[in-house]
Amino acid sequence: MKLFVLTFLNGLTLAGLYFLVASGFTLVFGLMRNVNLAHGSLYLLGAYIGFEVGDRTGSWFLAVVAGFLSGAIFGVLLQILVFRRMEGQELRQTMVTIGISIVAADLMLAIWTGETYQFEPPDWLYGGTPLPFVKIYPTIRIMVLVVSVVVGVALWLFLTRTRIGMMIRAGVDDRGMLSASGVNVQRVFATTFAVGAGLAGFAGVVGGSALSISPGEDTRYLLASLIVVIVGGMGSVPGAAIGALMIGLAEQFGLAYSPTYSVVYTFLIMVAVLAIRPQGIMGRA
């Protein structure tokens, strides 16, 4: 029972982390039809820059802010300098993001070497919190879960209750019509990219605090984002939440009960969804 509950909690926190990364990915895809394969690089970049800021200022909160901002700035630069120039050429855009992710991974390896970094979160996040069945559970992981739920709700409110959120949803449905009704689509794109990329950088700091940061994490979270949005449906934030829950739980239960085949479960979920609902659980045909 203890193993089960512990695995369940680990699955939930991992799902929270996956949601933070994948929600930005799915938002950008839904609006711009642009598969940003450099999304994992944004995660790692946010984590490293957040670490530097946290290390110099001694403030973990500044590190979180820096993670978000670095992701957002890099994302907006990508949108303005690269994607705007090749609108509508999906394959070319995707290939460019692959090229960028190759170069970014190599440059980050050059700057921050192959070492593993660990954040120093504030004292109240250290240690454990008593919970039923498992006696004690790391506070920081509970924090990851809480943060992802808060971000999820905030994102939902942003999309459904604000003017710019309305524009983004309209853009997902019909980009041409949105533009024709007098909205500056480029500004909507830049905003979406900033939020999506910023969330990846933010997740980098949060994930780096709960786990650790090292080269190769970029591809791990890219794979997670890909599978989460394939399963959940492209462009849907609730879909990303459902997908993240399924993948996070599958991964942790797989690791706990059959460690050498755990990735197969994740894979089988993807195949099953593609077989039954190719557009994803919450995706529109």
Binding site: L91, I100, L226, I230, T260, V263, M270
Partner: protein, 363 residues
């Protein structure tokens, strides 16, 4: 019908051009390993050839089928792992069957894996293909890394050597070069043949307009899956050569780096013609081996990533696309010159334009 250009002195008849090109290429490819040091035959020559074969399988899928799959290195890896597990390795894991049993099983296994990838990937179309195949490829990498019962985890398998057949040790550089050349030539011929077969024409029709082809009564899904199987068959041969070349295989062989490398090679050379991937592979292997002279060995990925970006941004048809544009310019300049030298009354304005080599279209 002979045109002015055909009978003009100094220009070869049109039918002779491809024959001459192939003859020169064949002679060069056969003489090359005999006159260069072993390093150039093995490290540069053979490696370019089998990497070209794997990239060729991607070119076939992407260029003719419009499906850019990032799982081609994974298929090659599946075939490589099968050779390692079945054909004997330093761990004495698996049955250690002779090559004539292990290699066909590896090719069949790779083709089967590719067919399964195809069945999964064709559920969606367009940009989703790249996402799903990349997810499959990465999942296979993590599986190979975490699984010790079948893949021997992180360390993989070592001492996988090409066999001695007909009294020749196929591991010696020159023999291995010719083995790679044979595979490359056969794959190239197969892709050329397929591209002109009924199947290939239908596949290109599906690439250009799947809806219309479906309306014409073609089974679009079956054609696409068959294309994946065919590409997997070719990539499997590349995979067997790859594992013999390295004499080992580990999860690193199918990691994100190599997965992207195949795409880089195909795009670098150009995805429109089957020769493109081989051109790309030569450039890639040369850069990989000699970039150390210009930059830090560790920063090779930055260099190749930037080359890839430059090609994607400025010449979407790869190096071959650049070459085509160049030859068209030269031909046009030559035609213009000839037109100027001709007596005015005789100048037929439509003729010189026709001598310019047409830009190879998506055909």
């Amino acid at each position: 019908m002979s045109t002015v250009a055909d009978v003009m002195p100094g220009t070869t008849p049109r039918w002779l051009r491809p024959v001459l090109t192939y003859a020169i290429a064949a002679i060069a490819l056969v003489i090359y390993p005999l006159i260069v040091p072993d390093f150039w035959a093995f490290q540069i020559g053979a490696q370019s050839l089998f990497l070209g074969v794997i990239a060729l399988s991607l070119m076939f899928l992407g260029g003719y089928g419009g499906m850019v799959s990032l799982a081609q290195m994974t298929i090659a890896g599946v075939a490589g792992y099968l050779v390692a597990i079945i054909g004997g390795n330093s761990l004495n894991f698996g049955p250690a069957w002779p090559w004539w049993a292990a290699v066909p099983i590896a090719i069949a296994g790779g083709t089967l894996a590719a067919t399964l990838v195809g069945v999964i990937a064709v559920r969606t179309a367009g940009i989703y293909t790249i996402m799903i195949t990349i997810a499959i490829a990465m999942a296979f990498f993590y599986l190979a890394q975490q699984n010790y019962t079948l893949f021997n985890g992180h360390s993989g398998f070592a001492s996988i050597l090409p066999p001695h057949v007909f009294g020749i040790d196929w591991r010696t550089p020159i023999a291995f070069y010719f083995l790679s050349l044979l595979v490359a030539v056969l794959s190239y011929a197969l892709v050329l043949y397929l591209s002109r077969s009924t199947f290939g024409i239908a596949l290109q029709g599906i690439r250009d307009n799947a809806r219309r082809m479906r309306a014409l009564g073609f089974n679009v899904t079956a054609h696409r899956v068959a294309a994946y199987a065919m590409a997997g068959f070719i990539a499997s041969f590349g995979g067997v050569l790859l594992v013999w070349f390295n004499s080992r295989i580990s999860p690193g062989t199918v990691d994100t780096g190599p997965i992207f490398d195949i795409l880089v090679i195909a795009v670098l050379g150009g995805m429109r013609r089957p020769i493109g991937p081989f051109v790309g592979a030569v450039i890639f292997v040369l850069l990989e081996n000699f970039a150390i002279d210009f930059i830090d060995r560790e920063r090779f990925n930055t260099l190749i990533g930037l080359c890839f970006l430059a090609i994607v941004l400025f010449s979407p048809d790869g190096v071959l696309g650049l070459w085509d544009r160049l030859t068209v310019l030269i031909d046009r300049a030559g035609a213009a010159n000839r037109m100027l030298q001709r007596p005015i009354g005789n100048a037929d304005r439509t003729q010189p334009a026709a001598t310019g080599r047409p830009i190879p279209g998506r055909r």
